[in-house]
């Protein structure tokens, strides 16, 4: 499986440049699409799932051209959009049955078996006969992932999947994706929550203002932040000064003040200890540096 994106741009009729000259290669495994709100992640995803056309550029999926062979590409897709709330009047299992049917599973028996399997996996078996519209937000999202996966797609695209989920749901969700990422498929995960992808993505792209700012393995991104992350025990005026000049990634109250983690270009402070950066630090560092540039 391979997705090649070349020179992709999207300008909306209202003149908004959502994407500019995106170039990406996405291969098997989980691919993270990271970026703040409004970075263009959803636009890119909606183009990839054939919901909207790009303004310019090419996308090829396993050799199929996105503009010409949407049928073939759609066959490979499993998609969970960012908003997944309002259903027509269908029960939980019916929605899955509909999705499975549309994914091409003709046999009713096979469909029903798969439905049960997936309902079990996403923990909705007991809610199978409930109206999908009446499920809680988390349940709807689980139903969403089940419908995206029920047809065993080769490419799974999930847009902001963990928004609004409680920690337990989030972990369950990550686990499902991790399991899948072992197979010969692409999972494209778009999120603005670094934690969602830190553990599982082999590669990621960082999008900001419609442009790819970074593309590579998370480790490379983390490496870029090395020497730019500190931990400081601080209080009072100093604390205020640090907050003003650096990006604070965590603040923990201590006996005589706060223990804070900072990301920044350079910190001349004796009490500061340089620490090992993680993906979140790297993301913040990167975004901060972009802001600095801009």
């Amino acid at each position: 499986m391979k997705i090649e994106i070349r020179g992709l741009s999207k300008i909306y009729p209202n003149g908004k440049h959502a994407l500019s000259d995106i170039n990406l290669d996405i291969e098997n495994g989980m691919f993270g699409l990271l970026g703040p709100n409004g970075a263009g992640k959803s636009s890119l995803i909606r183009i990839l799932v054939t919901l909207i056309p790009p303004t310019t550029g090419q996308v090829s999926v396993n050799g199929f051209d996105l503009m010409k062979d949407r049928g073939e590409i759609r066959k490979m897709l499993g998609y969970l959009p960012q908003d997944f709330r309002f259903f027509s009047k269908l029960k939980t299992w019916e929605f899955l049955d509909y999705a499975a049917g549309l994914a091409g599973i003709k046999s009713k028996a096979v469909r029903h078996k798969k439905i049960d399997e997936w309902l079990e996996k996403v923990g909705l078996f007991d809610a199978r006969d409930r109206q999908a519209n009446n499920l809680s937000g988390g349940m709807k999202r689980r139903l969403g992932i089940a419908q995206a996966l029920i047809g065993s797609p080769n490419i799974i695209i999930v847009d902001e999947p963990t928004t609004g989920l409680d920690p337990e749901e989030r972990i369950r969700f990550r686990n499902i994706l991790s399991e899948l990422s072992q197979q010969d498929i692409i999972i494209l995960l778009s999120t603005h929550i670094v934690g969602d992808i830190s553990s599982v993505c082999r590669e990621l792209a960082l999008l900001n203002e419609g442009k790819v700012q970074f593309n590579g393995p998370p480790e490379t991104l983390v490496e870029k932040a090395r020497g730019h992350v500190w931990q400081v025990q601080t209080a009072g005026v100093e604390y205020d000064m640090l907050k003003e000049n650096f990006a604070v990634t965590s603040t923990i109250p201590s006996e005589d003040g706060w223990e804070i983690q900072l990301v920044g270009e350079k910190l001349d402070l004796n009490s500061a200890t340089e620490i090992e950066p993680n993906l979140e630090h790297a993301y913040v560092y990167f975004m901060e540096s972009l802001t600095g540039i801009s």
Binding site: T50, L51, R74, P81
Partner: protein, 1113 residues
């Protein structure tokens, strides 16, 4: 794969819709409503029309047509709903991201919606079929049942779904889509439904889909064409929706395919529209062309056919005929071209004389044969014609103007396509109207509209058809084997007809006549209802026949009388020149299947009602008695009916439609006048009604037919009217035809003759003449000769004047008195009044009197014009003469009516109620009509009256009509100025209305308008004899109309312009009296007298009638 996807999308769309409350409520309501409707149809006491029960297909048809009306609207909502949901539901993105084409998606959705409606349609259909089985004892038609959902619902739903989808994709707003489409639907239902041959009727309400149990659909080809249009357009719009769908297409390559395909479907539908309309217009043009040919050739001397032998072979939808005609030339000149009429669908293969072929030509229905030598006066010859083919029904009833010709007729919720002939594999019905055998001369010509001079021909007919079928025709019938029949009418006939079908005969011989019912196999529903009356039937027939013959003074001239069943589609049109419809044929009457259009044909219901009635009257309800009553009622109401009788389907059927009368007269003897063809109709109507009382039946407040006739004849003479025709006003419920005028005018001619020469004398002279001319025509010279010889009257001048003059009699009535007189020892009741005819034409007035009968239930006498006639007298008033009319009664009269027939008088029926005979006068009785000195004008000495019909009356119209209404009413001008009183919604303009109680010499009318603030006024201006003081009176009738908006009596606001200024006067109608009301005394100069009435009133409307100035001495 695609099929699987369509199926799964459709299945889930269905599931979603079935859960929608909107659909559930609609479906539940439809099932419940139609269920109740169906049950009601089957309950005896409900008196449901027989048509629903008699025709197997009618309940399923009714159910689906009613359902379709509802689903056509609901579908708009459901169709737009899915696109709305697609916009609203964010989860739809995961569906859109699936691999399927937009076409599959929309198709699946459309099929899903169609599917739920299909389920509903099947339920409703099953409901209908179930009840049809319960109510129907006859054969069931599975084909028809299945055809209805396909013909009615499918095209409607596909079309409205497609259109809704498409409008929704364009507007992107469900509310706007709903408003646009419901507006469109309302337009097609209420305004466009019958326009352009009901092409706009996508709901198929006007598409004739009644399925006859005998002949099936009337024109399946036309139905299919009409329904295909909407099916194709529906598919076209669905394809355009696919193109416009807010989802990226599956492949770029075929993305525009739905657009082009959609356009192809729309154009294909358009093509069918063209074809559909073209067929209709072609038929219209064909008829125009045929009439033009007749106009060209009708004067051409024609041979007389004395005998016609027909050998006919029926083969599927064709006939092959060999016909041998004996011809005579009874003209004064030799004939070089023999002109015949023969159905244009029949192809003439050869014409020969003594085995030698003759040259011939066809022009539509006309067949011109060129004899080898001119056919000399007095000569006879025989010619043989061979022809075969199908019949073209467009040649029938050319006397309906092509623009007014309508092939559609509505009964109940059903639409029927009129059929004039049937030539099918298992059923044939050919009447003379189809010209399936050669007839000398032309058919209807507009230049001689009442010309109808058929030869009285000695026919013989042999028929070969399928062995299982039975042929019926006139004359004695013999069968040489299965499917082979010979018919030998004993007498010369003006026409013959042929029926072939699976008939069973039920007959009874009464005296010299054989009475038969020919019922289609399986349609013998009537049998069990007369099983107890077998012995009584001959007696009943004999009595009814005798009674009718006494009334008409005629004898039944044939040896048999048949009632034969024909499909419900059979057209009941009437010719301008004929007394009855085409259903009445010599020796037989063609009855719509199971008597569906006849009255009292639902014998189960009749049985139930008569039994209940008898029990209510404490009579013993013996089956034999009930059956005898049913039998009598059935025959009397349908075949022995008289003018004025009401019918269940009064729009189409009246007392003439199935009248047996032509059997007695027209099919046996006709009056022939080359100069005045209209005389034949005059003669017929006189013979038919000479012994009937004239009873006025006017069910509406509006103009009666008689009044319309008078308005027509006040403008032009009969001759001119026949020549120019009457421009029909399509807004009218019942437009007047030249047939109506000819009948009324004819009746008037003979009634005046009878009044002048003596009823007895004229009647017996004519009866003798008819007896002397059986089965032939009476030449006018002979008719006139008898009048000259026996009654010393030459009719020529009389008839000439009657024909060319447009002067009418007019009647003035004065001094109506009612009082008691003591006659010996008894007190009797005297009615007395003066009657004058100041015009230059003789006339007849009919006086009808209703007596006070305490046993009579007058509560149901809702229509005040229909009074019970206890006493009736025709009063003859020669020109410029006056009469004193007096009649004496032993019982107190309640009301009298004066019917003024053909005259200047409007309304044509003046009703006077007598409010008690309180006064007793000691004066001599007058029980006679005596001549008195001539009087004219009702106004007395020193009186000046200005009526609203006079020149001195003017009004300011100031129409303030709603804009929308004015758009709809644009170009609608009524043919007659008089309207009815719209009490519920009075007009915002002055309109004229007729009422006996209004003031007037000949025309009792007033202007009326909606009450307001004084924006409209009416003025009376009089030229007075001198400057003096005058008393001013206003004529008021307190119009009492049933339904009004408020109960407030109007007040009247007058402005009186007199020499000393203007006087405002207000009069409440409550305080006023009917008749002249004094307004005041003023000084007027001779030419400035004027009174204005404004429409300012507290009531609903004001009436402006007459104003009177009386010299104050």
């Amino acid at each position: 794969m695609s099929l699987h996807l369509i199926r799964i999308i459709a299945a889930y769309e269905m599931r979603t819709l079935l859960r929608s409350w909107f659909f559930r409520i609609f479906a539940g309501g439809a099932i419940l409503g139609l269920g109740i409707f169906n049950i009601a149809l089957n309950v005896e006491a409900s008196g449901a029309p027989w048509m629903y029960k008699a025709i197997a297909a009618s309940i399923p048809y009714a159910n689906l047509i009613i359902l379709n009306l509802g689903q056509a609207i609901v579908a708009v909502f459901l169709a737009s709903e899915f696109l709305k949901q697609d916009r609203k539901n964010d989860t739809v993105e995961v569906i859109y991201a699936r691999s399927m084409s937009n076409g599959i998606y929309i198709l699946g959705k459309a099929l899903g919606i169609l599917g739920v409606f299909l389920v509903l349609n099947v339920i409703i259909l099953l409901l209908g079929i179930g009840f049809s089985f319960i109510s129907n004892t006859g054969s069931q038609r599975i084909f028809a049942y299945l055809a209805y959902p396909l013909l009615i619902s499918l095209p409607t739903l596909v079309y409205i779904l497609g259109l809704s989808f498409f409008v929704m994709t364009l507007t992107k707003n469900q509310a706007i889509t709903f408003i646009i489409l419901t507006g469109y639907i309302a337009l097609t239902i209420f305004y466009l439904n019958k326009k352009a041959f009901h092409i706009f009727d996508y709901i198929a309400y006007q598409v004739p889909m009644m399925y006859s149990s005998i002949s099936g659909f009337a024109r399946l080809d036309e139905i299919l064409l009409h329904r295909m249009i909407y099916l194709l357009w529906g598919i076209g719009f669905i394809l355009l929706t696919v193109y416009k769908l807010h989802r990226l297409p599956q492949t770029q390559r075929f993305s525009t395919l739905p657009l082009y395909l959609g356009l192809v479907f729309l154009f294909a539908g358009g093509g069918l529209v063209y074809r559909y309309l073209d067929t209709k217009h072609a038929a219209k043009e064909f008829r125009k062309h045929a009439v033009a040919l007749n106009n060209r050739y009708y004067r051409h001397a024609k041979p007389t056919v004395s005998s016609c032998t027909l050998e006919l072979v029926h083969n599927r939808d064709k006939i092959e005929v060999v016909s041998l005609l004996t011809l005579h030339n009874r003209n004064d000149l030799a004939i070089d071209t023999l002109i015949f009429s023969l159905n244009p669908g029949l192809i003439v293969h050869s014409v020969s004389k003594n085995h030698l072929p003759l040259r011939f030509e066809r022009q539509l229905h006309l067949l011109s044969i060129f004899p080898d030598e001119p056919f000399k006066p007095g000569d006879s010859c025989e010619i043989t014609l061979k022809y075969s083919g199908k019949v073209d029904e467009n040649i029938c009833f050319l006397d309906t103007p092509p623009d007014d010709y309508t092939e559609i007729v509505n009964f109940e919720v059903f639409t029927l396509r009129k059929r004039f002939a049937f030539l099918q594999k298992d059923f044939v019905c050919l009447t003379g109207e189809t010209i399936w055998y050669p007839v000398a001369g032309t058919t209807y010509a507009t230049d001689a509209p009442l010309l109808n001079e058929p030869d009285f021909v000695r026919f013989t007919l042999s028929v070969t058809t399928s062995p299982e079928l039975t042929a019926i025709s006139q004359g004695s019938s013999t069968s040489k084997g299965p499917g082979i029949f010979d018919f030998h009418p004993e007498y010369a006939l003006p026409r013959i007809s042929l029926l072939i079908g699976q008939y069973n005969q039920y007959k009874v011989q009464v005296d010299s006549v054989e009475y038969s019912i020919f019922a289609i196999h399986g349609h013998e529903y009537f049998k069990p209802f007369f099983d107890q009356a077998t012995d009584t039937v001959p007696v009943l027939i004999r009595d009814l026949k005798k009674e009718y013959e006494v009334k008409t003074g005629l004898k039944y001239p044939f040896k048999r009388f048949m009632l034969a069943e024909v499909p419900v589609h059979f057209a009941l049109d009437k010719h301008l020149y004929s007394y009855t419809s085409d259903a009445v044929q010599p020796e037989m009457i063609l009855c719509p299947e199971k008597g569906v259009l006849l009255d009292n044909a639902d014998f189960r219901n009749r049985n139930y009602r008569i039994e209940r009635e008898m029990k209510n009257n404490n009579e013993e309800a013996l089956p034999e008695e009930i059956q005898s009553r049913m039998f009598k009622q059935f025959l009397q109401t349908n075949f022995l009916s008289q003018r004025g009788q009401g019918f269940d389907y009064g729009d189409v059927i009246n007392w003439e439609t199935f009248s047996v009368f032509p059997e007695y007269l027209g099919f046996s003897t006709q009056l022939q006048s080359d100069q005045w063809p209209v005389l034949e109709m005059a003669f017929e109507v006189y013979m038919g009604e000479r012994n009937e009382h004239a009873i006025s039946v006017n069910w509406y407040e509006g103009l009666s037919i008689n009044e319309k006739i008078n308005l027509e004849l006040s403008k032009v003479s009969l001759e001119e009217l026949l020549r120019k025709g009457i421009e029909s006003d399509r807004n009218e419920d019942r437009p007047v035809t030249i047939r109506d005028v000819a009948q009324s005018k004819g009746l008037q001619l003979f009634n005046v003759l009878r009044a002048r020469l003596g009823e007895q004398e004229v009647d017996s002279l004519v009866s003798r003449l008819i007896a002397d001319y059986p089965h032939t025509r009476i030449p006018f010279d002979e008719f006139n000769g008898r009048f000259r010889d026996h009654l010393n009257t030459d009719l020529r001048q009389e008839i000439h004047n009657w024909y060319v003059q447009n002067s009418l009699p007019g009647y003035l009535i004065r001094n109506i008195n009612s009082y008691k007189v003591v006659d010996g020892e008894v007190t009797r009741y005297q009615i007395r009044f003066g009657l004058s005819n100041p015009e230059s034409t003789d006339g007849i007035v009919t006086l009808n009197v209703e007596l006070n009968d305490p046993n009579r239930n007058t509560n149901n006498n809702f229509f005040q014009d229909n009074l019970n006639v206890d006493f009736s007298r025709k009063i003859f008033l020669p020109a410029h003469s006056s009469r004193d009319v007096g009649f004496v009664f032993n019982t107190e009269p309640a009301r009298m009516s004066l019917m003024t027939h053909i005259s200047r008088n409007l309304p044509g029926n003046l009703i006077y109620s007598f409010s008690g005979f309180t006064e007793t006068r000691n004066v001599p009785l007058l029980d006679d009509v005596i001549e008195i000195p001539f009087f004219d004008q009702e106004a007395g000495k020193n009186e000046t009256v200005v009526d609203n019909e006079d020149k001195g009356f003017t009004y300011q119209q100031a129409v303030n009509q709603a804009y929308l209404k004015s758009l709809v009413k644009k170009n609608k001008t009524d043919r007659y100025k008089y309207s009815e009183i719209w009490a519920w919604n009075p007009p915002r303009e002055w309109r004229e209305v007729l009422r006996a109680e209004f003031y007037g010499n000949f025309i009792h009318s007033a202007h009326y308008t909606r009450g307001g603030t004084g924006e409209r006024t009416a003025s009376w201006k009089a030229v007075l004899p001198e400057k003096a003081m005058y008393d001013v009176y206003f004529y008021m009738d307190k119009v009492n109309v049933g339904w009004r908006r408020t109960n407030k009596s109007p007040d009247y606001n007058f402005l009186i312009y007199h020499d000393n200024g203007v006087e405002k006067i207000n009069r409440s109608s409550e305080e006023a009296e009917n008749g002249w009301n004094y307004l005041g005394t003023f000084s007027f100069s001779s030419d400035t007298a004027r009174v204005d009435l404004s429409n300012k009133t507290i009531g609903d409307m004001v009436f402006a009638d007459a104003m009177k100035w009386v010299l104050n001495e």
